[in-house]
Subunit: 101 residues, 2 copies
Amino acid sequence: MIAAPTFDPVIHAPGRLQICAILSSVDEAEFAMIREAIKVSDSVLSKHLKQLEDAGYIAPRKAPIDGRQRTWVSLTAAGRKAFAAHVAELTRLAALVPAQA
Amino acid sequence: MIAAPTFDPVIHAPGRLQICAILSSVDEAEFAMIREAIKVSDSVLSKHLKQLEDAGYIAPRKAPIDGRQRTWVSLTAAGRKAFAAHVAELTRLAALVPAQA
DNA sequence: CCTACGCTTTCCACATCGGAAAGTGAGGTT
DNA sequence: AACCTCACTTTCCGATGTGGAAAGCGTAGG
Protein backbone atom coordinates (compact mmCIF):
# COMPACT_ATOMS: atom_id res chain seq x y z
CA MET A 1 0.00 0.00 0.00
CA ILE A 2 0.97 3.60 -0.33
CA ALA A 3 2.15 5.40 2.73
CA ALA A 4 0.83 8.92 2.87
CA PRO A 5 3.52 11.09 1.34
CA THR A 6 4.69 13.98 3.42
CA PHE A 7 4.75 16.71 0.84
CA ASP A 8 6.23 19.96 1.86
CA PRO A 9 3.81 22.54 0.47
CA VAL A 10 6.53 25.17 0.41
CA ILE A 11 8.47 23.04 -2.03
CA HIS A 12 5.67 21.31 -3.86
CA ALA A 13 4.21 24.39 -5.57
CA PRO A 14 5.31 24.22 -9.20
CA GLY A 15 7.05 27.59 -9.21
CA ARG A 16 9.07 26.91 -6.11
CA LEU A 17 9.79 23.37 -7.14
CA GLN A 18 11.37 24.79 -10.25
CA ILE A 19 13.30 27.33 -8.24
CA CYS A 20 14.66 24.60 -6.00
CA ALA A 21 15.52 22.47 -8.98
CA ILE A 22 17.43 25.31 -10.54
CA LEU A 23 19.25 26.10 -7.34
CA SER A 24 20.10 22.49 -6.75
CA SER A 25 21.89 22.38 -10.06
CA VAL A 26 23.71 25.67 -10.12
CA ASP A 27 24.62 26.40 -6.51
CA GLU A 28 23.89 30.06 -6.88
CA ALA A 29 21.54 31.89 -9.21
CA GLU A 30 20.77 35.49 -9.93
CA PHE A 31 17.32 36.91 -9.36
CA ALA A 32 16.76 37.93 -12.96
CA MET A 33 17.99 34.60 -14.25
CA ILE A 34 15.50 32.72 -12.11
CA ARG A 35 12.74 35.10 -13.06
CA GLU A 36 13.29 34.40 -16.72
CA ALA A 37 13.73 30.70 -16.19
CA ILE A 38 10.38 30.28 -14.52
CA LYS A 39 8.66 33.11 -16.35
CA VAL A 40 7.06 35.05 -13.57
CA SER A 41 6.96 38.70 -12.62
CA ASP A 42 9.38 40.32 -10.19
CA SER A 43 6.79 40.41 -7.47
CA VAL A 44 5.89 36.79 -7.76
CA LEU A 45 9.47 35.62 -7.73
CA SER A 46 10.22 37.86 -4.79
CA LYS A 47 7.34 36.35 -2.88
CA HIS A 48 8.36 32.80 -3.71
CA LEU A 49 11.90 33.48 -2.63
CA LYS A 50 10.65 35.03 0.58
CA GLN A 51 8.64 31.94 1.38
CA LEU A 52 11.64 29.74 0.72
CA GLU A 53 13.79 32.01 2.81
CA ASP A 54 11.27 32.08 5.66
CA ALA A 55 11.35 28.31 5.57
CA GLY A 56 15.11 28.50 5.84
CA TYR A 57 15.60 26.80 2.50
CA ILE A 58 17.51 29.48 0.70
CA ALA A 59 19.89 32.27 1.58
CA PRO A 60 20.15 35.48 -0.37
CA ARG A 61 23.45 37.15 -1.04
CA LYS A 62 23.43 40.74 -2.14
CA ALA A 63 26.42 41.49 -4.26
CA PRO A 64 26.97 44.51 -6.42
CA ILE A 65 27.70 43.77 -10.03
CA ASP A 66 28.74 46.53 -12.29
CA GLY A 67 27.91 49.02 -9.58
CA ARG A 68 24.32 47.91 -9.22
CA GLN A 69 23.22 45.56 -6.54
CA ARG A 70 22.12 42.13 -7.57
CA THR A 71 20.63 39.38 -5.51
CA TRP A 72 22.01 35.88 -5.68
CA VAL A 73 20.32 33.03 -3.95
CA SER A 74 21.50 29.60 -3.00
CA LEU A 75 20.06 26.63 -1.19
CA THR A 76 20.95 26.30 2.45
CA ALA A 77 21.86 22.93 3.89
CA ALA A 78 18.30 22.69 5.17
CA GLY A 79 16.98 23.63 1.77
CA ARG A 80 19.06 20.99 0.08
CA LYS A 81 17.89 18.45 2.58
CA ALA A 82 14.24 19.41 2.26
CA PHE A 83 14.39 19.40 -1.48
CA ALA A 84 16.18 16.08 -1.52
CA ALA A 85 13.57 14.64 0.82
CA HIS A 86 10.81 15.92 -1.37
CA VAL A 87 12.41 14.54 -4.46
CA ALA A 88 12.93 11.25 -2.68
CA GLU A 89 9.23 11.22 -1.91
CA LEU A 90 8.43 11.86 -5.52
CA THR A 91 10.90 9.26 -6.59
CA ARG A 92 9.17 6.81 -4.33
CA LEU A 93 5.94 7.55 -6.17
CA ALA A 94 7.78 7.24 -9.44
CA ALA A 95 9.01 3.83 -8.44
CA LEU A 96 5.44 2.69 -8.31
CA VAL A 97 4.97 3.36 -11.98
CA PRO A 98 4.88 0.09 -13.87
CA ALA A 99 6.61 -0.24 -17.19
CA GLN A 100 5.23 2.30 -19.59
CA ALA A 101 4.91 2.48 -23.32
CA MET B 1 20.13 25.13 -17.81
CA ILE B 2 16.75 23.98 -16.74
CA ALA B 3 14.07 23.68 -19.35
CA ALA B 4 10.72 24.85 -18.06
CA PRO B 5 8.97 21.74 -16.82
CA THR B 6 5.58 21.10 -18.29
CA PHE B 7 3.67 20.22 -15.19
CA ASP B 8 0.18 19.01 -15.65
CA PRO B 9 -1.80 20.81 -12.96
CA VAL B 10 -4.42 18.09 -12.95
CA ILE B 11 -1.79 15.61 -11.89
CA HIS B 12 0.53 17.82 -9.90
CA ALA B 13 -1.89 18.60 -7.08
CA PRO B 14 -0.80 16.49 -4.10
CA GLY B 15 -4.10 14.72 -3.66
CA ARG B 16 -4.42 13.71 -7.26
CA LEU B 17 -0.76 12.84 -7.50
CA GLN B 18 -1.33 10.37 -4.71
CA ILE B 19 -4.40 9.00 -6.40
CA CYS B 20 -2.47 8.47 -9.60
CA ALA B 21 0.36 6.86 -7.70
CA ILE B 22 -2.03 4.47 -6.04
CA LEU B 23 -3.75 3.63 -9.28
CA SER B 24 -0.47 3.12 -11.07
CA SER B 25 0.46 0.46 -8.57
CA VAL B 26 -2.77 -1.43 -8.15
CA ASP B 27 -4.51 -1.29 -11.51
CA GLU B 28 -7.88 -0.83 -9.94
CA ALA B 29 -8.89 0.68 -6.64
CA GLU B 30 -12.09 1.07 -4.77
CA PHE B 31 -13.48 4.47 -3.88
CA ALA B 32 -13.42 3.92 -0.15
CA MET B 33 -9.92 2.50 -0.24
CA ILE B 34 -8.60 5.58 -1.98
CA ARG B 35 -10.51 7.85 0.33
CA GLU B 36 -8.85 6.28 3.33
CA ALA B 37 -5.45 6.17 1.69
CA ILE B 38 -5.37 9.88 1.02
CA LYS B 39 -7.51 10.85 3.98
CA VAL B 40 -10.07 13.13 2.44
CA SER B 41 -13.83 13.34 2.62
CA ASP B 42 -16.16 11.67 0.14
CA SER B 43 -16.89 14.94 -1.58
CA VAL B 44 -13.28 15.86 -2.06
CA LEU B 45 -12.33 12.50 -3.45
CA SER B 46 -15.33 12.53 -5.73
CA LYS B 47 -14.30 15.90 -7.08
CA HIS B 48 -10.71 14.83 -7.61
CA LEU B 49 -11.82 11.74 -9.43
CA LYS B 50 -14.13 13.81 -11.57
CA GLN B 51 -11.29 16.07 -12.58
CA LEU B 52 -9.13 13.11 -13.46
CA GLU B 53 -11.99 11.55 -15.36
CA ASP B 54 -12.74 14.79 -17.23
CA ALA B 55 -9.09 14.86 -18.20
CA GLY B 56 -9.50 11.33 -19.50
CA TYR B 57 -6.96 9.95 -17.06
CA ILE B 58 -9.13 7.49 -15.21
CA ALA B 59 -12.15 5.38 -15.94
CA PRO B 60 -14.71 4.41 -13.32
CA ARG B 61 -16.28 1.01 -13.22
CA LYS B 62 -19.42 0.56 -11.21
CA ALA B 63 -19.69 -2.93 -9.92
CA PRO B 64 -21.97 -4.22 -7.23
CA ILE B 65 -20.25 -5.94 -4.37
CA ASP B 66 -22.31 -7.72 -1.84
CA GLY B 67 -25.41 -6.30 -3.40
CA ARG B 68 -24.34 -2.71 -3.00
CA GLN B 69 -22.81 -0.72 -5.76
CA ARG B 70 -19.17 0.17 -5.44
CA THR B 71 -17.05 2.31 -7.67
CA TRP B 72 -13.72 1.09 -8.89
CA VAL B 73 -11.38 3.32 -10.78
CA SER B 74 -8.41 2.61 -12.94
CA LEU B 75 -6.00 4.63 -15.01
CA THR B 76 -6.73 4.85 -18.71
CA ALA B 77 -3.91 4.53 -21.22
CA ALA B 78 -3.88 8.32 -21.42
CA GLY B 79 -3.79 8.55 -17.66
CA ARG B 80 -0.88 6.18 -17.44
CA LYS B 81 0.93 8.11 -20.10
CA ALA B 82 0.26 11.48 -18.49
CA PHE B 83 1.31 10.24 -15.09
CA ALA B 84 4.41 8.63 -16.51
CA ALA B 85 5.27 11.88 -18.28
CA HIS B 86 4.77 13.80 -15.10
CA VAL B 87 6.89 11.40 -13.15
CA ALA B 88 9.53 11.56 -15.84
CA GLU B 89 9.53 15.31 -15.44
CA LEU B 90 9.93 14.95 -11.70
CA THR B 91 12.61 12.37 -12.18
CA ARG B 92 14.43 14.81 -14.40
CA LEU B 93 14.33 17.29 -11.53
CA ALA B 94 15.48 14.60 -9.19
CA ALA B 95 18.44 13.90 -11.40
CA LEU B 96 19.57 17.46 -10.85
CA VAL B 97 19.96 16.91 -7.17
CA PRO B 98 23.61 16.64 -6.29
CA ALA B 99 24.82 14.09 -3.82
CA GLN B 100 23.05 14.59 -0.52
CA ALA B 101 23.86 13.82 3.04
C1' DC C 1 18.74 66.61 -5.49
C1' DC C 2 16.70 63.84 -8.84
C1' DT C 3 16.46 59.76 -11.45
C1' DA C 4 17.14 54.84 -12.56
C1' DC C 5 17.53 50.31 -11.25
C1' DG C 6 16.54 46.20 -8.59
C1' DC C 7 14.05 44.18 -5.74
C1' DT C 8 10.01 44.29 -2.01
C1' DT C 9 5.52 45.13 -0.39
C1' DT C 10 0.80 46.12 -0.95
C1' DC C 11 -3.18 45.75 -3.02
C1' DC C 12 -6.39 43.04 -5.88
C1' DA C 13 -8.71 39.40 -8.82
C1' DC C 14 -9.06 34.71 -9.59
C1' DA C 15 -8.65 29.76 -9.10
C1' DT C 16 -8.39 25.89 -6.11
C1' DC C 17 -9.08 23.25 -2.21
C1' DG C 18 -11.44 21.11 1.56
C1' DG C 19 -15.59 20.04 4.21
C1' DA C 20 -20.64 20.12 5.36
C1' DA C 21 -24.82 19.27 3.76
C1' DA C 22 -28.22 18.31 0.51
C1' DG C 23 -29.24 15.49 -3.61
C1' DT C 24 -29.40 11.21 -6.56
C1' DG C 25 -29.88 6.47 -7.87
C1' DA C 26 -29.79 1.55 -7.00
C1' DG C 27 -31.04 -1.99 -3.74
C1' DG C 28 -33.24 -3.84 0.27
C1' DT C 29 -37.24 -3.83 3.66
C1' DT C 30 -41.87 -3.90 5.08
C1' DA D 1 -45.66 0.56 -3.52
C1' DA D 2 -43.62 3.53 0.06
C1' DC D 3 -39.66 3.91 2.56
C1' DC D 4 -34.97 3.47 4.00
C1' DT D 5 -30.05 2.89 3.45
C1' DC D 6 -25.86 3.02 1.25
C1' DA D 7 -22.50 5.00 -1.88
C1' DC D 8 -21.35 8.32 -4.07
C1' DT D 9 -22.33 13.27 -6.39
C1' DT D 10 -23.31 17.96 -6.39
C1' DT D 11 -23.88 22.31 -4.28
C1' DC D 12 -22.82 25.57 -1.32
C1' DC D 13 -19.34 27.98 1.55
C1' DG D 14 -15.06 29.80 3.67
C1' DA D 15 -10.11 29.57 3.64
C1' DT D 16 -5.93 29.58 1.17
C1' DG D 17 -2.64 30.23 -2.60
C1' DT D 18 -1.23 32.22 -6.83
C1' DG D 19 -0.20 35.82 -10.08
C1' DG D 20 0.19 40.59 -11.69
C1' DA D 21 0.08 45.75 -11.37
C1' DA D 22 1.48 49.37 -8.95
C1' DA D 23 3.55 51.75 -5.31
C1' DG D 24 7.49 51.71 -2.04
C1' DC D 25 12.35 51.55 -0.73
C1' DG D 26 17.39 51.68 -0.76
C1' DT D 27 21.52 52.28 -3.39
C1' DA D 28 24.14 54.26 -7.20
C1' DG D 29 24.87 57.54 -10.72
C1' DG D 30 24.05 62.14 -13.08
